[in-house]
């Protein structure tokens, strides 16, 4: 199995005035294609920083990061944007849908930023297809305020899928949802993972993390445990 994420001695240091905060200390991490990984850890542990760097939203201070065999830790902002558009799908805790914009139009947004690959299908039909994959084809023209939390999160998942990414990053995807809806969302992730998409998810809920196949625990900028989930 080929690796999709490969990090070698990755560090991130924030300077806050005089003092320096070490968010990540020389992290080594490899994630293979098709894995389903949960990242856990208390707040301030560095898991969000790790997530931001994996998602090409942030750059490490030192170390190497290869995404799908491409070295991205020295790339320019615009190149990172292109990688985000083509390779990575984001799902956020707060859904982050544009208000007063229909589900379909929300899902279409990433298509206008896709520069690297040419997809044969039109943005509209890809967006409809993505909404079908999360079971929302009959809610396409609703705006976020007319949808329940679970439905909004599924729209966000459809949006993350529309450019056919190989990596899905979810930051506390169930943080704002009740347990029944959380289970539904986890089922969606399971299905996508079964279709071959690599899923990396940050969570602080133990039972949600149990849905993954592998759990990483981060503390003080270091990965302190890396265990496979036994089912």
């Amino acid at each position: 199995m080929s690796s999709i994420i490969q990090m070698h001695r990755l560090s991130k240091v924030y300077s806050l005035g005089e003092s320096q905060v070490h968010a990540l200390r020389s992290v080594d991490l490899t994630i293979h294609q098709g894995e389903f990984v949960a990242i856990m850890g208390p707040s301030g542990s560095g898991k969000s920083t790790l997530m931001n760097i994996i998602g090409c939203l942030d750059q490490p201070t030192a170390g190497e990061y290869h995404l799908q065999g491409q070295r991205v830790d020295r790339m320019r902002r615009s190149e990172l944007a292109d990688i985000r558009a083509a390779t990575i799908g984001f799902v956020f805790q707060g859904f982050n849908l544009l208000s007063r914009t229909s589900a379909l139009e929300n899902v279409e947004i990433p298509t206008q930023y896709l520069r690297r690959r040419k997809l044969t299908e039109s943005p509209r039909s890809r967006a409809i297809e993505a909404l079908q994959r999360v079971g929302l084809q009959d809610r396409m023209h609703h705006v976020p305020s007319q949808l329940s939390g679970g439905q909004q999160q599924r729209v966000a998942i459809a949006r993350s899928l529309v450019n056919q990414p190989s990596l899905l990053l979810a930051d506390e995807p169930t943080g704002n949802l009740d347990s029944t809806t959380s289970e539904e969302i986890m089922d969606v992730f399971h299905n996508l993972n079964a279709q071959g998409i690599t899923v990396v998810m940050v969570t602080h809920e133990q039972d949600i993390a149990q849905h993954a196949k592998r759990i990483l625990v981060v503390r003080d900028g270091i990965i302190v445990s890396d265990t496979a989930v036994v089912k």
Binding site: L57, N96, L98, I109, Q112
Partner: protein, 405 residues
Amino acid sequence: MKFLLTTLRTALRNILRNRMRTLLTMLGIIIGVAAVIIMVSVGKGAEADINQRIGALGSNVLMVRPGGSSSHGVRLGADSWQSLKLKDIDALKKHCTQIAAVSGLVRANGQFVANGTNWPTNMEGANVEYFEIRQLKLSSGSFFTERDVRTSRKVAVIGATIAQEVFGDSDPVGQQFRFGKQPMTVVGVLASRGQSGMGGDQDDIVIAPITTVFFRIAGDSHLNQIIASANSREVMAAAQEEMTTVLRKEHKVRGENDDFSIRNQSDILEAATSMSRTLTMLLSAIAAVSLLVGGIGIMNIMLVSVTERTREIGIRMALGARGIDILLQFLIEAVVLCSLGGLAGIALALSACKVLEQTVGMNTILDITTILFAFGFSAMVGVFFGFYPARKAAGLNPIDALRYE
């Protein structure tokens, strides 16, 4: 292209979302654009008016006036020299090849008395060529003739104002009147010409044969003016040159001090036109300042919009938008805002010009160049004042923007 269309749609939707705010923001641009267009069209209208009125005097007209004289070292100013004589006219007629017509002019003030009433007016004594040079038209009767001039007949052509004031609705032709002590007969009435370029009433006039005024009324020995028309506008300078040479010879002028001066109508026209043009430019500049203020309003609201939509910017960046995508989105929004304002401003200017024409009777000239220029300028205002907020949006850090509450 497709990207632009999508961005344009997004921009329009965002603009329509805050209708009240959009309208208030655009108001600055609307007023600015309308002000620029109205000022330019009113200016151009005034310029055309002046052109037409002065041009009506005949644009290839040359005027000779006596020069200033001095008496024992005291200078007496222009027109004081009694240097122009009747024989100058014959000399000019004989020697000048570039001149189509020439006439002398003698003025006399007096009371026009007829029909049991009277009216203070000016009498001009002129040759028959005067009608041709000034391009005067008759509304009834006829001009006096060459023979009338030769015999100093007591006939006159009167202007529309006098015809109205003294004779009312009855036909003045053939009527007797008295000017000073001279009993005379009206032979023709001039067609109305309205105000002159300087605001005087061109219809308040009596024109009689030059010899009649010269010998029977003024009793002077000199002309007030000689007026001539060149063969065409192009030979004005040559004609002026010729006339100068002939008159210098006739007056036996030595050295540089001519006892006359020649002016042509196009000089006067040019001076008046350039004055109105300067005024137009000044007014347009003031209007442009209001457009600038409108632009600052646009910048202000775009900055507010960037702050309000920080989270949206973060989301778009996370989904793969480059800085330039965000920049274009906000820039296009500002340009669309300004262009819509520009269009509304044009509509406002069009109706304002209509109203000005119909109520005040002001002549306005709206040409497509002015409209296109004003519209282009408003779009430029959008680019200029939209750029800073757009660049601010594009420079946001996606992580911070996503976290923004």
